[in-house]
């Protein structure tokens, strides 16, 4: 029968008690995982990101070309309200519009006709 004097201290027992361990090799695996996590990233940009930016750049370039061509093909003559006073009868209302096929995008665009060309003298 144990006596109070022979009872080992509880705190000492807790400190000295055999503890269960992690699976075999766990310490090395964790150390390796930490080492890999600390490795700096490669400075090279991942290839999928390169392809993505290339696609974005292509869309921007094509869009800019199309815009420039579209601007170049716009009518340059005087509009219906240019203010000419040579007696030409002009339409009081805005000129009719027609559908014009764009050469680049083949998308119909509405443009106002230069009705001054067809003014009745």
């Amino acid at each position: 029968m144990t006596t109070p004097d022979s009872q080992p201290d509880v705190e000492r027992m807790l400190t000295d008690a055999p503890g269960a361990g992690l699976p075999e090799g766990a310490h090395e695996r964790i150390s390796e995982a930490l080492r890999l996590a600390e490795t700096p990233r490669s400075p090279a940009v991942p290839t999928h990101r390169v392809a993505l930016w290339q696609a974005v750049a292509a869309v921007i370039v094509v869009g800019a070309i199309g815009f420039a061509l579209g601007r170049a093909g716009a009518p340059t003559g005087p509009g219906p309200d240019s203010g000419s006073t040579d007696g030409q009868r002009r339409l009081a209302q805005p000129g009719p519009t027609v559908l014009v096929q764009s050469d680049i995008f083949r998308r119909p665009e509405r443009r106002e006709l230069d009705v001054a060309r067809w003014s009745v003298k």
């Binding site: 029968m1 509880v10 807790l14 503890g19 269960a20 699976p23 766990a26 995982a33 930490l34 080492r35």
Partner: protein, 175 residues
């Protein structure tokens, strides 16, 4: 208590690999107690420490910071797996005790394990963090988000209760 974002930080990066090598013996019992499974304990430690590296965490007190992260991860996992089971068994188990290990007094080891199981969940956690993981009472308070006085009270009552339970076990075995 200050939130983690309000606490002061280290200026220099922390070598978490060195931290793991120095604190393996302290982190393992707590991880086992939280997960009840050696494989999950390994996973918990790895996930928490690699997360520290990825976030470039530089806490003023790395020890309590890591233990607190492990505790929160275990709580989140318990909520996903089913709160009822953990509510019955408690957050911290006695899975860290190797009851099958060769011991000078196997009977005493068995009584210790049984006595630990008889503590409240809060007492068991504080006793474990103090005696096996080597945390100070202030660090434990930081981990469980309680004042140091509360931690000291739980620890003292936990040790006293352990003595009572072990004495009961001895008396029962002697008769």
């Amino acid at each position: 208590m200050k939130r983690a974002s309000q606490r002061p930080r280290h200026d220099a990066p922390i070598d978490w690999g060195a931290f793991w090598r120095e604190r393996q013996g302290d982190l393992t019992p707590y991880a086992l107690a939280l997960t009840r499974n050696p494989d999950e304990a390994e996973e918990l430690i790895q996930v928490v420490l690699t997360g520290m590296i990825q976030r470039d965490a530089r806490p003023e007190s790395p020890v309590s910071y890591v233990f607190r992260a492990m505790r929160h991860a275990a709580i989140d996992r318990a909520r996903r797996d089913g709160a009822d089971q953990r509510a019955r068994e408690g957050l911290v188990s006695i899975a860290w005790v190797d009851r099958d290990a060769p011991s000078a007094d196997p009977a005493e080891l068995a009584r210790l394990a049984a006595a630990l199981d008889g503590l409240s969940d809060e007492q068991r956690e504080v006793v474990l963090l103090r005696t096996r993981s080597g945390l100070t009472l202030a660090e434990i308070g930081d981990v469980i988000d309680r004042p140091e006085g509360t931690v000291a009270s739980r620890y003292a009552r936990g040790i006293e209760r352990l003595r009572e339970l072990m004495q009961q076990e001895r008396t029962h075995d002697d008769t």
